[in-house]
């Protein structure tokens, strides 16, 4: 599909308005790739002036930093910042709340200052500007807050605003917003076995979502997506309940 590269645009003497930061999951994980593709479709259909770094993008370093490996984090972050600053990037949008958090809150101390948006924030403003109009359906959809968009950055409204445009029947779990329960992936847990315990965190969260009787779970994070999908499999509910990123729900709604 047609995805503009930042380097090509800059070579033509243009400077795209927004850089879409794809992230490791969005680039490599087959399920998260579908979210990336969905988001690109939205950007393309609305003629947003954007580009990706492509091969020049590297991991933001978030999992390394949270695991405690500051060296690897700094290595990746400083190289990314070098790339971003060379291109003169001003505004970044990302489909991953971990990338969002690190670039927005932690890159400035390393010399990288940008306006950073999570894709649900961009979608929210596109709706507000009436560039994106959706027709609300009636599916019962439950929303799951990611820790890094929600508690870590206080963004609870944008994804809910978007979801409310998609369905008239959005429901909440008991633990929502500030009290939302983690999916279990953060802090580099995604990349290791669980410590000994009684239960997996994603199963605990999935059970809560199942109890709402929703037909779908809406998420804003590729890792939540994996974790809750695994949770549904563990509960043998993967046929009845789907997990979607908000951008996928939009693509379905717009029939792109």
């Amino acid at each position: 599909m047609e995805v503009p590269r930042y380097s090509e645009r800059v070579a033509k003497g243009e400077s795209p308005e927004i850089l879409f930061w794809v992230g490791c999951a969005g680039s490599y994980d087959p399920r998260a790739q579908r979210v990336t593709v969905a988001f690109v479709k939205i950007l393309n259909s609305l003629d947003i002036d954007y580009a990706i770094l492509g091969k020049e993008e590297q991991c933001t370093g978030d999992p390394a930093r949270r695991a405690g490996n500051e060296f690897v984090f700094q290595m990746l972050a400083l190289q990314n910042i070098e790339t971003l600053n060379t291109y003169g990037v001003k505004k970044i949008v990302t489909t991953c709340p971990h990338c969002f958090n690190v670039i927005k809150n932690e890159y400035p101390a390393l010399g990288g200052e940008y306006e950073v948006l999570h894709h649900t924030q961009l979608l929210q403003s596109l709706i507000q500007e009436e560039r994106l109009s959706l027709e609300a359906g009636t599916d019962k959809i439950v929303y799951h807050d990611s820790c890094f968009l929600g508690r870590a950055n206080g963004e609870f409204a944008a994804p809910r605003d978007v979801l409310n445009q998609l369905t008239t029947d959005m429901v909440e779990m008991g633990r929502n917003r500030e009290k939302g329960l983690c999916c279990g992936a953060g802090g580099a847990q995604m990349f290791k076995e669980d410590e000994p315990g009684d239960k997996r965190i994603n199963v605990e969260r999935t059970e809560e979502a199942i109890a709402t009787n929703a037909s779908a779970i809406a998420v804003n994070c590729p890792f939540c997506l994996t974790m809750l999908s695994d949770g549904l499999k563990a509960k043998d509910k993967q046929e009845e309940i789907m997990v979607y990123d908000l951008s996928e729900l939009i693509v379905n709604n717009m029939q792109l």
């Binding site: 599909m1 995805v3 794809v22 490791c24 969005g26 680039s27 490599y28 790739q33 579908r34 990336t36 593709v37 479709k41 492509g54 091969k55 993008e57 590297q58 991991c59 370093g61 999992p63 390394a64 949270r66 695991a67 405690g68 500051e70 060296f71 690897v72 700094q74 290595m75 990746l76 400083l78 958090n101 809150n105 932690e106 390393l110 820790c147 508690r151 870590a152 950055n153 500030e178 009290k179 329960l181 983690c182 279990g184 953060g186 802090g187 580099a188 847990q189 990349f191 290791k192 076995e193 669980d194 410590e195 000994p196 315990g197 009684d198 239960k199 997996r200 965190i201 199963v203 605990e204």
Partner: protein, 456 residues
Amino acid sequence: MSIQQIAFLIVLIVTASLASKLYGRVIRNIRLGKDIEPLREQDEGRRWLNVFLVALGQKKMFKRIIPALLHAAIYVAFLFTQIELIEIIADGLTGKHRVFAPFLGNLYPVIISAIELLSLAAFAATLAFIWRRNVAKVARFQQSEMRGWPSWDANIILFGEILLIIGIFTMNMADSVLQIIDPSHYVQTGTFLISGHLGPALMGSWDPDLLGVMERFGWWLHFLVVCGFLLYLPISKHLHILFAFPNTWFASVSPKGQMKNMPEVMVEVKSMLGLTEDTGSMSEDIPEFGAQDVQDLTWKNIMDAYTCTECGRCTSVCPAHITGKKLSPRKIMMDVRDRATEIGKNLDSGNLTFRNEEARKNNHPLTSQNYADDRSLFDYITREELHACTSCNACVEACPVLINPLDIILQMRRYEILTESAGPTDWLPMFNSLENNGAVWAMSADRDAWTATDSQ
């Protein structure tokens, strides 16, 4: 000067000198930590807001309404009783009786009545708290770190509160009767809302001498319990009634997701990547990164630990704890406090074996700077606990006094990975592919290969 005045003065002086010593120790223990980054002026407003809303206004408590109301009853009573306490001190020093009454006139019985009402509410709340902890056994007080002293600590204070309230009412009831039968010695204050009726009803027929003794008993009980409280706080979770204020002031106002940068690592990596001129200033010593012990944390981390109320709100929302992992953020805070206290005790012992090698060689006296023993925070906090954290910030969000357990966990992880080159082996492939491929998974495909997958 009467004997009572002398006794009062002695108790006051002894309490004050003991208090300065005990609080001095806590402050010394907190200062074992490293300096924090200077506070930015533009955040001042938000810091004051935290002090007013979170510490004074108990905003975070109201996420759970029942304990919030019970706690508020005790807290408001505590604040108002300070008026009575100031009068007690004034009375004690001057040898007079109810010195505020003539000044406050008609307002005096209103204030005392308000204190009595609040004390009654606090009494009920205290009983409810004792019941919640010991009979209903509310889940967040049952974790292993609460066994032994911590649960005693909670009950001791609740018992002290009951004593205090008994003191207040005994004094006021006896005084109410004495005002009637011995108006020349007992200043007329006007009727107190509760004791003004309860006193005559219960003690109306008592001997005046006995009433005089009861009045003094209540007065001294109130005063002595307060002195006891003051000296007890430094070894108790109840230190939060004082420390909540500075602790909310110094709490971070950055987004919760933001981790502190490590400039010392940044400098090295920059020169490694050729992003700066290599100044050759890199030190020859093997550098230590992250936190192995409380001295490697900041003093704010240690103040957090001394401010912890052991309420367990953090632990009860921790996803790792909920799913049966060993991690409990409350225990992290208690461990940091206990380790700081251990070091403090060793410093107080003056035992010269607690000096580091260099100080021993040069025969320097033992100070907090040259302290060394063969223990560390890792003797309190296991790696399994550190590895179970998802950095979800639920504990940080839940804490009623703005403590950050996650910050400590992450600093200890840094020590484990950077200084010890240890940590979960599962992470090694991740670190390797990050270093070699710039991606979290080892992938042979290009990072933008997905663009070829086309619409699915």
